[in-house]
């Protein structure tokens, strides 16, 4: 009897090992394989279609680091974009979530309104915002003119110093509603008793936020920050929609830079750029998660 039971247990244990196989196979095929291939391409000067190529060792990486202003410019733009979007989008999403966390008819409607841009395609968003930013007859400048603030009219995406921040504004408008939903879920998971206890202890609104809400919403903040970071690095279609292909230096970010290099049929060099791009995202996400962990401890 007992040997039958242990035999069944063994069979079950063996079967359990089969469950991750499909996921692992997909991961190996869709992620590990392309990454290994990218590493291999990055060490060559392959043009993307010829049978012949040379192995160039680490030359592509050396060139990236020392002799490519376009890549450095794209990395700088991306860093500005990411920092702006992460700060603005996280703050706005949290504010909206705090405002709309209680479920009422009005808040449900407003949540839907703020979430709406998320369901649009990037191309549609780019089309709409191109009209918003157009300096001659665009929505923003027309509105400023209508209220007599002509002096505040701007060239927006045509100003190389500020273009990336206008891109950031579009990105925040596009995704803040989505992040608001994540925060609302996090806020609703905080036990009410903690607020009641804090209130009994005489804690005011800000103190309750500082000592109850902020630490307990940390997991949601971590998700929002990590997701927003990755999103900002991958704002590819939005940039091409707003600025054309290839975008000018003011709006060139790492994903569009890699795409332009691929379009130039420099596959080896583009693969090296992709790898650096991947490492940068991983590094920045890790740093942010640690920073959030510390801030909410």
């Amino acid at each position: 009897m007992s040997s039958t039971r242990s035999g069944r247990r063994r069979r079950t244990a063996r079967a359990l090992w089969l469950f991750p196989v499909p996921a692992l196979a997909l991961h190996l095929f869709l992620f590990a394989y392309p990454v290994v291939q990218a590493v291999q391409y990055a060490l060559t000067d392959w043009d993307g279609y010829s049978a012949a190529y040379d192995n160039v060792g680490l030359r592509n990486f050396a060139e990236l680091a020392t002799d490519d202003d376009t890549f450095a410019n794209a990395a700088g733009n991306n860093l500005k974009l990411t920092l702006t979007v992460v700060l603005a989008q996280t703050a706005l999403a949290l504010l909206l979530a705090l405002w709309l966390v209680r479920t009422t008819r009005a808040s449900t409607l407003l949540r839907a309104v703020f979430f709406l841009p998320t369901v649009l395609s990037s191309v549609s968003v780019a089309f709409v915002w191109r009209f918003v930013y157009d300096p001659d007859g665009g929505l923003l400048n027309s509105a400023l003119r209508a209220v007599g603030l002509d002096s505040l009219q701007s060239v927006y995406l045509g100003d190389p110093d500020t273009a990336v921040f206008w891109l950031a504004l579009t990105q925040v408008w596009f995704h803040a509603g989505q992040m608001m939903v994540v925060f609302i879920a996090g806020l609703q998971a905080i036990p009410k008793e903690l607020y009641e206890a804090a209130e009994l202890d005489g804690a005011g609104r800000l103190t309750r936020f500082r000592y109850v809400t902020w630490p307990l919403v940390a997991p949601a903040t971590g998700i929002v920050v990590a997701y927003t970071t990755v999103q900002s690095f991958k704002a590819f279609d939005l940039v091409l929609g707003l600025a054309g292909n290839p975008p000018g230096p003011a709006l060139d970010i790492l994903s569009t830079r890699v795409y332009t290099t691929f379009s130039n049929n420099q596959f080896g060099y583009a693969a090296a750029q992709s790898l650096v791009f991947m490492v940068l995202i991983a590094l920045l996400t890790w740093v942010q998660r640690r920073a959030i962990g510390r801030a909410t401890r």
Partner: protein
Amino acid sequence: MTSSLDRRSALRLFGAAGLGLGLAACAGPGGGSASTAGSASPSGLATSGAVRGTVSFAHWRAEDKAVLADLIKAFVKEHPGAGVEQDIAPSADYQSTALRRIRGSRTGDVFTAFRGAQFEQIVKAGVYAPLTGTGVVDRYQRNLIGPGAQDGTQYGLPYQLVFNMPLANTDALDKAGHTRAPGDWDGFLQLLDDLKAKGYTPLAWPGGDAANSGQLLNVMVMNNAPGDDAFSRIESGDAKVTDDWFLTTLEQYAALRPYVQERATGSSTDAVTRLFAEGRAGLLATGSFQMAGVRALGAKFPFDLVAPITTTAAAARYEGVFNTTFVLGVNSASKVQPAAYAFLEFLSDPENAGAYADGTGQHVTVEGVEYANADLKALAPWLTRRTLLAPRFQFLDLDIRTAVENATVAVVGGKKPEQAAEEAQRVIDQKRS
């Protein structure tokens, strides 16, 4: 014990799978399809045989879809055993991805290419079946299909003929007192002044659109450049954008600042096209390819083309710029080559080419076409005038082209020409190395 053995087996299995995939990945570029389709010696084109099967026609002109669909209907009527499916990608995507999409035999039995870098890459990859010696080549105007040839072999047939120079509202020019296009730079500035005095935006320029802001560069350099291959020489390192002639060009861009619409460096093509179509601008600095779009926005005024002559009248070698593009070709890997060739022949028939031209508002390079479209007729004299093949497309490297074009945008935006040129040259030097 059994359980630990199972775990080990499972890990071995996963490890082996990972190693296998890793090794497969390390097989390297040039392996697999890359090596088979990468041959530089394309097979001969099958021009005869049964016209049967579905031809995939890959191109980027979504706006031509309906006109082409009508032509396809007529083609299928002539060849009941054949069909044609349009495979359309947006032009920006097509520029970047077409080669990879048409390299197999599944897409693009008949395909198009942009003149310049893309055409050359597709030839190098062996995707064009050579057309030299086939009857279809004789249907084209010899002097216009050079961009579809390389080393004496005709690989593709540039189908469209466009003029990459400012489109003019001749009503506005008349009101400004100009019935003839100015013949020198001073005259051009005078025209802009007169248009401004009459309340027009003299020159609508899409400075915020990377694809179209550079069209003006074609005409700005056509007479300034020391030779017709100046941009090729910049890309090869034999000339620099810091050379006097290019600095002069940038200074002339600076002189245009008061005449383009306000905050022009942020303007999209849609916005300036609207500005022009509504009759508020005298010139639209894109090209004849915008005519249909302007008409679609309701413009009623007559068109002409006016290029800035940036030199004195005596020193001017050219009156304008043209480009032949939409380079049609047959895929060397196509499994329905006779049908693909028949479709190419069909498009190259003067009557069908005329229908395409009238329907799309683009001139074509096919010999003997008679245009019915009033705008095409109005610009027909330009087909025989002194025009230069658009130099902008001599750039084969997108980064170099963007650097040069961005210098012009930066100058209109207020940057000093010398500084803009130096910054562009730095990028060019890096990309060349």
